[in-house]
Symmetry: C2
């Protein structure tokens, strides 16, 4: 029989009873205490540190006579994350099991704040021609004297006579309720037609409201845009962490999870994301849905984009073959799948439209970017960088467009950065470093004003988009050199060595933070960023070579993250080859924009299929020049390439950094 | 003094009064209900399980004060045989005593004497062009060096290149398993394509076997013909009682059941028939199915016919509106519905093809008859009589065909006939009555020899097809007159009055039967038959009038029952207007033949849709002439119409009966 123990969380004071053997993270979740847990119990991120304040751990094995005593001893895995300066009693909440009544303190930096939604919808200009349309129908009541025809036939005749729609069929579930619905409002009804082909809903009376959901499933974040199909406007947006994160933070680890748990791993992850999407559906419709057991049924159409691995897992397709050479996906074309076949709690007769994927790892999300930005309609040479957990690049113009995928690692998302955190309140997102004094001023998410040195702030760490701007500032201030190495002996206490003798820069002193620690940027952080930006640069460079291009006319930064990058910083660091700064701009979640466009205009679906096949996928990792290019691209902004635009920019700003022009 | 209680057996509908304390098995035997009882009441075989549906069990032991309440509690001996999966209310018929009025359901497997399958499949001549076809596919293993394409795209390319199939799609479930199946036999696979449109199965390796199931759901009986789609041959046939019978013996009572149990009645009946069909599927494939949890998955296609009410209930469509004026069905067109949407345990990606219905009560079964017999390709005037629980008529030629539905009542099926029973061993199916002595000789199903008077036989009753021949013999022997009235004082003990003073004819003396009762034909039986045949005759007559026909060139008797009718007797009684006897013939289960044809040839599906709309439905019940015509048609063979062919026939046989010519 299971025992229960009392658990109290500080400083919130939340308390309750939890079952013996549950982890503190599970206990926290069940008691509504937010603890940051990026990696999902994998002992990898080390973000969920908590301090055991008081506790009684009783004997769990009478025979051995062993007694769990306080403070509990962390496992070797935990020890990798626990530093002496963390103080006594620190454990990872995801690893520490409840064995008796316990009081736990959750340090500020372990507290999860609601993530700032970085996938907000921007206004789109597109002709409204959605795949589902509603038609009002008013039938004459049948009589015995006319040639008897069925309800189905009479609805079809009306649609043909009044709207010119021919050869429609009914979804089976719609047929099932047709008779009663037609009679409910004296033969007045509203018929929802999908792609001029199939009737996917019949509602009593005349209904105008028509909704679709445009979805973008990222490796880390999922977002759904509830869209009024009559106006094209987004009426509500809901986002959440991808519930597959516990099974792996990146694409490859999820593929591995599926392969190493045959028969259950894939199914578990598919179920998780379907459930997650159902939760988004439930939340996103709460203001417009009718009462009843199925509020999501107001959604008649759904478009969805994701990378190839998320695509496969979402559809329950074995991701093994896209994870290994020759990287063959199950399907590339777009798909239309009945919502009920996937268990989605929207209109079960409706379809979800899965945008096509390009190749290997260049997925439907990149196709979304493609149809949103339309490089194939440009005369200029356009580079589009879509940065999520992976980086995808599109390069070209109306003559030709190439795509590729870069393994950037998670640095841009704040993971594997010592004080990295999600873009949530308390995260530093912008820094100014004085080139003379090396002193820093910064801006924190959730506050409108900039820091005043030594003033107490809610500062906890720094977010992914912030790190680029911060490292660019460090470079411009001469704190790091072109190779990314720290310049020591600058006469400031902010540049120092840590306990292991590794250089770091203090961005905020402990007294300015709510975590009572100095927030720093380490040599390791700079290296992680160099690897990430080097991968992007190399991808762009090798594609330019393939297309015979020597200059870029325009650079578009896409992605939830891309939209928050400081464009000047991205040029300064060399995320991409030189370009006029006023031709570098962020477009936000372009993958999501593509999903929304496909929702609003069915021509965009055709366009997506055609262009996904037309774009040429370039495998850069197998290019013989890759290694050498990558090594050079690690430099800031680059070891050899010329940056005339950047040079002009920095000169104008009186920077002392030398740039090749 | 002994008490009597009313006992009703389902699904046969047999009922009667039995003495208190008799076992249900004894009751069944005395009422001519077949219950398997191998061990002879020894509680050993457990074959005689029945379900108590409704019933009142009064105190059976005053002293103990015990009250038998519903559901009755089985004894420990019975419990050895009763499994939890048998469900509630199950008892052994040999142990359960009648203590009050009771309604008992005899499950299919407890029924003795496998019903003579009257829906056996005859050989059809039809061009093989089934809706599902299999194609062998052999792909080149993908390499990294080719332009990467998905598995889906490579299969489609092969089908286009090698077989000219364009624009196919995959069913979602097929896509889900595609990758692993293609790799299982080194890129050799077999693809099943539905209607040149959709891939509904992919199997590893080269598979040739291809199966479909043609189904005919009657109000009383269901049958499935497992068909080899490569040869067109029926490889197995399975039939069963319609499991909806407990909810109503005829169409109208099932509609009433649905209406009087809103929210559950329809669903219950739909579930019952789907479960029944799944049982047919399981049994019909047992010789050809692979091991595994889903033997029925070998079936890739299914065609189905039924009357309009069975159609609606099967599809979960509210049957209310076809049960009342203006009799509007939900849909008339043919339907293609995913097997999984209905919960059928065949290939879940496959479709079931529901044949179209004509109008009101003239259902898909009649369309089956129509495309099997093709009256629209005849120069002659053809009358097709399809007799099931309802009677449907088709009349016409290549210029025009009309259809109608006649409420014949269940007399033709042996129901509401005092000693009527199913066409099972022990049923009298043929009689000869000596015109002089009025003595009868008869033939019983399950025996090849005719009766020798007073010899002990397993005689139990008479079957539906038998009653026609028997009454015709009685008419020819002068036992009943043209109006159907008994002629008394014929100087034979066989013509007598029953306890209520009603005339009857003794067909078999109690000593010749296994039920220890005289088997008789009563005045009520003759009247029931007259009503039934009068309805058919009136329908034919009014349609002839509408079409301006004066003679019939051919009469086709269809239906499981029709195929066993003695054609001479049917002409003698006047089931239809006069016709040359050699142009009257039975074709067996023509509705089932139509279902099979639609399974084997997709052109027949088009033809069915076109012809179902082309045939004109005639509402005979509302014809002002109906009442008068019906009254005259009740006579044997008719009150006024001339029967030159019948007259010649009877004169040749030296009958003394006078017929108008």
């Amino acid at each position: 029989m299971s025992k229960k123990h009392k658990v109290i969380f500080q400083p919130s004071g939340r308390r309750g009873e939890v079952e013996e053997g549950q982890t503190l993270l599970q206990a926290a979740q069940s008691l509504g205490v937010d603890i940051e847990a990026l990696c999902g119990n994998k002992k990898v991120c080390g973000k969920c540190k908590v301090r055991i304040e008081e506790g009684y751990f009783e004997k769990d094995n009478i025979e051995s006579g062993m007694t769990h005593i306080f403070p509990p001893v962390p496992s070797p895995d935990e020890m990798k994350h626990i530093k002496p300066q963390d103080g006594p009693g620190i454990r990872l909440a995801c690893q520490c099991e409840v064995r008796g009544d316990v009081k736990v303190f959750v340090p500020e930096r372990s507290r999860a704040g609601k993530q700032v939604v970085r996938k907000a919808a921007k206004e789109l200009t597109i002709k409204l021609d959605p795949a589902v349309k509603k038609y009002n129908v008013e039938l004459k009541p049948p009589t015995l004297h006319e040639m008897t025809t069925g309800d189905w036939e009479r609805v079809l005749k009306f649609l043909e006579d009044d709207y010119g729609l021919k050869g429609l069929t009914f979804d089976y579930l719609v047929l099932r309720d047709l008779q009663d619905i037609l009679r409910k409002e004296s033969w007045k009804a509203t018929v929802t037609v999908w792609m001029d082909k199939e009737i996917v809903k019949v509602e009593p009376g005349f209904v105008e409201a028509s909704y679709g959901l445009a979805v973008d499933i990222g490796t880390t974040t999922c977002v759904g845009y509830l869209t009024d199909l009559n106006t094209g406007k987004v009426v509500n947006t809901e986002s959440m962490m991808n519930p597959q994160v516990p099974y792996g933070e990146d694409v490859m680890s999820r593929i591995t999870y599926a392969m190493s748990n045959p028969g259950v791993g894939l199914e578990t992850m598919q179920k998780a994301i379907i459930q997650g999407l159902n939760e988004i559906i439930e939340r996103v419709v709460k203001d417009i849905a009718k009462d009843g057991p199925n509020p999501g049924y107001v959604i008649d159409d759904l478009t969805i984009v994701f990378n190839t691995a998320m695509h496969h897992i979402f559809l329950g397709l074995n991701p093994e073959y896209i994870g290994r050479s020759p990287f063959i996906p199950a399907v590339q074309s777009s798909l239309d799948i009945k919502a009920r076949d996937l268990g989605l709690r929207m209109n079960p007769s409706g379809y979800i439209h899965v945008l096509p994927i390009e190749a290997g790892f260049v997925g439907a999300d990149n196709v979304g970017v493609l149809i949103a930005e339309e490089p194939y309609n440009q005369d200029e040479n356009v580079l589009i960088i879509d940065i999520g957990t992976n980086g995808e690049l599109l390069l070209g113009n109306r003559k030709k467009v190439c795509s590729t995928s870069c393994a950037t690692g998670p640095a841009f998302e704040g993971a594997q950065i010592k004080f990295g955190m999600r873009a949530a309140p308390g995260a530093i997102e912008k820094v100014e470093i004085d080139p003379e004094t090396k002193e820093a001023r910064y801006k924190v998410i959730g506050r409108t004003d900039w820091s005043v040195p030594h003033q107490q702030m809610q500062t906890k760490g720094l977010c992914g988009s912030g790190i680029i701007q911060i490292v660019a500032e460090m470079f411009k201030a001469g704190i790091i050199d072109k190779s990314g190495r720290f310049v020591m002996d600058l006469g400031t206490p902010r540049v120092r060595k840590d306990a292991d003798g590794k250089p770091e820069y203090v961005l905020a002193w402990a007294s300015e933070t709510s975590i009572q620690q100095d927030v720093t940027v380490t040599q390791g952080d700079v290296r992680a960023l160099q690897l990430a930006k080097g991968a992007l640069y190399t991808g762009a460079k090798l594609m330019m070579k393939k297309l015979g291009m020597t200059t870029l006319d325009r650079v578009i930064l896409a992605g939830a993250f891309g939209s928050h990058i400081d464009v000047e910083a991205s040029l300064t660091l060399g995320l991409f080859p030189d370009c006029t700064l006023d031709k570098v701009y962020a477009v936000g979640n372009a993958a999501g924009d593509g999903s929304r466009m496909a929702l609003l205009n069915r021509g965009k679906r055709r366009e997506a299929n055609e262009r996904a096949r037309w774009v040429e996928f370039v495998e850069i990792a197998t290019d013989p020049a890759f290694e050498k290019e990558f090594m050079m691209a690690m430099h800031i902004p680059h070891m050899k390439d010329r940056f005339p635009n950047l040079k002009a920019l920095l000169e104008k700003a009186n920077s002392k950094v030398e740039i090749k022009a």
